[in-house]
Subunit: 174 residues, 2 copies
Amino acid sequence: MNFNLEKSIEILERTPAVLHAMLQHISDDWVLHNEGGETWSVYDVIGHLIQGEKTDWMPRAEIILSEKTDKTFESFDRFAQFEESKGKSLPELLDEFTRLRKKNIELLRSKKISDKDLDKKGIHPAFGEVTLSQLFSTWVVHDLNHLGQISRVMAKQYKSAVGPWIAYLRVLQS
Amino acid sequence: MNFNLEKSIEILERTPAVLHAMLQHISDDWVLHNEGGETWSVYDVIGHLIQGEKTDWMPRAEIILSEKTDKTFESFDRFAQFEESKGKSLPELLDEFTRLRKKNIELLRSKKISDKDLDKKGIHPAFGEVTLSQLFSTWVVHDLNHLGQISRVMAKQYKSAVGPWIAYLRVLQS
């Protein structure tokens, strides 16, 4: 499937509702535990998605679309949520994410991105030249990646409860 | 986390709304393609979840709770959906799943399952004795497993569109 802006927005604008349906008012047991060690809980993942809205996707798109000579992106802080989410409840984080995503999609639509714009480039701090369409594709896949992670983290809370069925459940083996 | 019936129902009763939020009226490009070879599309997965509601979870729970001497489960047909879904649209399948899941949760609640019931056993055709709590845990994990699969199958449609970011996206490497 080739990149398509409208089909990308289809996914991006659904994510807040998907997270609400999965997580709003669910028991803490499902959202506060992780997969062991330094892995993230569902709560941590929502904080990370908020950071993406604030500092990653649209800010990087704006660098690519700008007239700046140096189009190098700021590094994204994958651990900022451990400080930023402090004291906030999961429903508060879900509402914050919903609000930020809505604003970012409005901002994205206001840019009236053309096919030519999609080929414009920025500089990723780790792997160099990337295009606007690659950035937007990654935004979409990043949402889906973390939806998958959330499902997996929740599933793992029942890793021993399933008994011998573990053999059939790919999600518990990853 | 130990098995808990109410916390299990929390997940089971959310799944139809999660699938609606993710998939209702989305472009065919996201739901009709698979991960290559004999893998399943999102459309196939929804058909599989419907089969589970019809022939797997509650029918097996009823065998365990019955007075039968032989409590061996029927084998579950993992490919029935290729015949059963024929001619149905995705919105039709989502509605069918929603209806069946609602009915099964009502049936489950009507059983007034006790802690003693949760230890009752049935015979799985492949790995022998399993308890009712293991069956219900597996129902929950099975939902989460397929939500993860759906996210992954959708994400993979943009496998080449993300360019160099593929290195950071675990979902595209599985």
